[in-house]
Symmetry: C2
Subunit: 280 residues, 2 copies
């Protein structure tokens, strides 16, 4: 669990850093970015985990979302892991942009050759929070989780399955039902296998259908001009499941906005303030 | 001068776009990014030109600085050109990261093989503002200029030499005296030649020494932990020249901050508000 600092820059009077460590969950080196707000110099602060989308590394959110300004004001730490193990050279792990490297899908793979390493569910839900709590001045009891696209799916799935670990959950443009879109079907078939009953624990909509949700409201921002909206993201499936199970969900459809970080940057402040309410 | 849109995304209720065009100044295709704030839907808005540093394209500022949020509030357009022509395959134009592609230094080259294309001074001071004014709802009479590192040098030089074109000038971590640092000496020798008297028009400190300045105060933000501070940037030279010529200069040394966009993002709001005062 030893941490090695890759970089650190002062940012909004706090520190934006990247660390590398040997992960037990993925049996590989992993990187994550962490922003510590100025308040962390004198007290343990709440912490928000951000999960990125397909092809991203730990860097995208850090440089593109503009989250540090608001996090510094609110006194919240931000942790952004990479989206998969890297450099393993497993067969096929770099052939497709939507599978293998950059596409861990936040599952624990059970199929070969992925099962020894592609265990991003365990990494994000257990190992990373424990490592962060042990290494930085954050208050693990006040943690939330959010993310974008594949990472929105990851945030919903990991948040819904770990209510004792994460108090608040939100997402930008999430893959609302991984079982019912091409990206998710490809990933789940490859990592988990053909038995679709095994997929439901990695599908936000199925989790709501199967277990409901008694935590705080879920928040989703979705660009109405997102080119992946109808075929891959399908927020209406999550809305229908939430309605059936009386789960409070606020899903904003934002006119004219696409799938890019320009959309995320525009609404990151409102999502950060949403989480801060529950992490205070 | 025909413009081709490369991309466009809604961003803070405005539009962040990238365009490509055939430049006369550089006799090559050029790209620039433009953010139009929501106010541009109904009126001509002031415009701020951002010049980026070594190795950057038109993209860096757009995705990393977090400027659009404040520009949308202030109703200011942001234009960020690339830092050189690209794809020409001139001898040596991609051998070094600090010369040729990504390193136009905002000069009009007079030496071969650069002189036909490396004319970023004319591009930024004349062609681009005229193209932007003719193509977008901006008010060319209310323009300012700023930039970072090599682009801070460019903003100071182009702003000081074109007071009728740019009302306000600021810089992050500028190369304060291009004649007196290794980056600048290499670029000026290569692009302009060995006669150092020809360099003074491309040196912000020399321009102040030679001509003074009767425009509004100059604003500089400089990270005190910037690794390039002492050898390349040398803001004290600009401060000394301004003091001698009674030119108002505010130079903030920001404790702990480095040369990265994390530094820029932290103080971009205060520089944007500085310009807005003069562009109102």
């Amino acid at each position: 669990m030893k941490l090695e600092q890759v970089s650190a820059s002062r940012c909004f009077e706090g520190t934006q850093a990247v660390y590398r460590h040997a992960s037990q969950a993925t049996a590989s080196p992993m990187r994550f970015a962490i922003f510590l707000p100025p308040q962390a110099a004198t007290a343990r602060v709440p912490v928000l985990y951000w999960l990125s989308g397909l092809t991203c590394t730990e860097e995208n959110f850090v440089v593109k979302a503009g989250a540090q300004r608001v996090a510094a004001e609110l006194g919240v730490a931000l942790v952004a892991p990479d989206t998969s193990p890297r450099g393993l050279k497993l067969p096929g792990d770099r052939d497709d942009w939507d599978l293998g490297e950059g596409a861990g899908f936040y599952v624990d793979a059970t199929c070969l050759p992925w099962s020894a390493h592609y265990r991003m569910y365990s990494y994000v839900s257990e190992e990373l929070p424990e490592l962060v709590a042990a290494s930085f001045p954050v208050d693990a009891a006040r943690a939330g989780i959010f993310g974008h696209s594949m990472g929105g799916h990851g945030a919903l799935v990991i948040g819904l399955r770990n209510p004792s670990r994460f108090r608040s959950i939100s997402a930008f443009s999430p893959i609302a039902s991984s079982m019912r879109c091409a990206w998710g079907e490809k990933a789940l078939t490859t990592y988990i296998g053909d038995d679709r009953t095994q997929w439901r624990d990695y599908d936000a909509t199925a989790l709501i259908e199967d277990h409901g949700w008694s935590g705080p409201p879920l928040l989703v921002d979705q660009g109405a001009a997102d080119p992946f909206l109808d075929a891959q993201l399908r927020p209406e499936l999550l809305e229908e499941a939430c309605a059936r199970r009386s789960v409070p969900l606020v899903c904003h459809r934002r006119d004219g906005y696409d799938h890019s970080y320009h959309f995320i940057a525009t609404f990151i402040e409102s999502q950060l303030r949403f989480h801060a309410k529950y992490l205070a």
